[in-house]
Symmetry: C2
Subunit: 144 residues, 2 copies
DNA sequence: ATTCAAGATTACGTTAACGTTAGTTTTGCA
DNA sequence: TGCAAAACTAACGTTAACGTAATCTTGAAT
């Protein structure tokens, strides 16, 4: 359906605020798959690939994950999608469920990690908030 | 009051799960103040300093801040405390309030940054949660 | 057909945040 | 007093995640 418009290197780097070196590097370490090329060798991206890259950048920024950790997360996601895709038409039913459980457990672990992070952030925010509040009260009200 | 027990290097590293090199490094780059020493030159910490170090480690872990950013945050906190401490007995009232506002604004900015981070984390958690949910539904329920 | 900005490859450079010797001195304890 | 464990300083090593420079090739517009 979506004919996936051909995006040039500049398109991608500009829209995502990164440099070409970053894309080269991600491809180099296998974080991104080898992308399509023009006959002359220039890389050609599409929207799906752009989303994938954006996802990686979010995982880095928001989660503060290393590229290695991101690779693991991506792998977990892909496995889950693969299993979901091949869910109908599989022979070994028990094995099928086992694989799905396993992949789901990995996602669950990631979610748990996020939850922990949010709790800690919440606590830290609380601390800063109280400090600020005391300062404000000091300025506004007089004593006690 | 609290006579601040003398903590040895090993006490600190063991309780915080870091190595001595880390403390040396933090001191080296001025993230930690020069600490008390024994007559022989060994470092002596106290509970307050330990809390300070723990705070730094939390900022690193939870916020994912660089040591440079942490230095800025610590400075903002200290300035605020200083102003609070010297609040009574100051001559220039307007200047006093201006300083406090400025320090408060810096803390506010940090808090804002934390809030943004939490929102993004929340969104990401949502995404993962939905993916997981779909997988679970796939396994449990049949079609539809 | 020409041009010239944009892309490719290769390879060395950089920064943060420690790790890891190495060699010397201090300390707490038997 | 003697000694092994723990600390100190100084200096070089390491890893991740790109930056940067050089040189060559492509591709879109004139």
């Amino acid at each position: 359906m979506t004919a996936s418009a051909r995006l040039t290197m500049e398109d991608v780097t500009e829209r995502l605020g990164i440099t070409s070196r970053t894309l080269h590097y991600y491809e180099e370490i296998g974080l991104l798959p080898d992308v399509a090329r023009t006959e002359g060798g220039h890389r050609l991206y599409d929207e799906e690939m752009l989303n994938r890259i954006a996802h990686i950048l979010r995982l880095k920024q928001v989660l503060g994950a290393s590229l290695q950790e991101i690779r693991d997360i991506l792998q977990a996601e892909e496995e889950l999608e693969q299993i979901k895709a091949s869910y109908r038409g599989e022979s070994d039913l028990d094995e099928r469920d086992r694989l799905l459980d396993e992949a789901a457990a990995r996602l669950q672990a990631i979610i748990h990690h996020i939850d922990e992070k949010m709790e800690k952030l919440q606590a830290m925010r609380q601390g800063f908030g109280e400090r600020l509040e005391r300062a404000r009260r000091l300025k506004q009200g007089g004593s006690e």
